[in-house]
Subunit: 168 residues, 2 copies
DNA sequence: TCCCAATAGTTGGATGTCCAACTAATCGCG
DNA sequence: CGCGATTAGTTGGACATCCAACTATTGGGA
């Protein structure tokens, strides 16, 4: 456990070497560290349920969809992960009984992932757990959460290509 | 490529199911997606140099240290990663000739990682590259970068236990 | 002086990410 | 109607993370 800010120290070093102000470096490494903190806390909270954040997100996506099933490719598009990540996550969720792979009725290229009843129950329990721990955001009040989301929306929309909505 | 905001859609679903406002969920998944975007861009920029962001950060840490060498444990503490991650990263950097493992002069438990001249030259080249691409933060202006860093500092300081500095 | 707690780093393994390359299937154009 | 481009998902592999358990070493207290 450090008693000083390692990122602030890196910024000072960066500037002292004449490599720039370090503003971008601080933002990038701050986001990296924030992600690590959140993932650690979220995975610790989900561990008793036998889930990880990535698997929970996939199950939640199926839970929210109309028929509780989606093509693997659509899952990847919505979660914005590589097709091989979807294959791997679905493999594990099938092994654990939370998802079933089903053939597409009319397109033999396509595999559907369908949420099982056990999986649906798990989503509800884990959603409550994540809300209870504020998605690992202890140390950041609601104003801070909104602020970070609003700022990051600029980055995401520029990367994805959609227009941000005006409401929050 | 989506033409709508998948996180905003998830927030609507979350709220419609009565699982809470979704503010924390949006903040957490926004940070996750921002990290993914940055890592993808940074790793693409470093790829021609044969480096990844994590390896670059380790080399830069050694570059900034007084004697261009540090115990592996100190590297892990500063970069805030697990000792096994340090072992693995150093293994690869040693294989590539950018770092050398050296025994500690007086403590046989401790291994030092020392930056080689080739490694030092690579740090300088990659630092310039990262500054040139704004650490992958295209889509976020400098005010946005400062804003996200400042907000995340609240989270990091609460997690680490140090006091944020008053200056930025 | 001895022993135990603590420290440093490694090993084996699990998790999740993406890349390159592949197979199978579909669709649309000539 | 046939063929080539495109799509869907998988496989093998690389990368980076952390956990549990381990070995080797050190330091301080009894």
């Amino acid at each position: 456990m450090l008693d000083f800010d390692p990122i602030e120290e890196a910024r000072r070093n960066w500037a002292e070497h004449g490599w720039g102000s370090g503003t971008a470096m601080v933002a990038a490494t701050s986001i990296t560290r924030a992600h690590q903190i959140l993932l650690g806390r979220i995975n610790a909270a989900l561990h008793p349920h036998g889930l990880t954040f990535s698997r929970f997100e996939l199950l939640a996506l199926l839970y929210f969809s109309r028929e509780r099933q989606l093509p693997l490719g659509k899952i990847g598009a919505r979660l914005q992960v590589h097709p091989t990540s979807v294959t791997s996550l679905v493999d594990r969720l099938v092994a654990d009984g939370y998802v079933e792979r089903r053939p597409h009725p009319s397109d033999r290229r396509t595999t559907l992932a369908a949420l099982t009843d056990v999986g649906a129950a798990l989503v509800v329990a884990c959603a409550a757990e994540l809300e209870a721990i504020d998605f690992g955001l202890e140390g950041l009040d609601e104003d801070g959460q909104v602020a970070v989301s609003t700022t990051i929306t600029e980055l995401r929309s520029a990367s994805d290509g959609w227009k941000p909505s005006t409401s929050t």
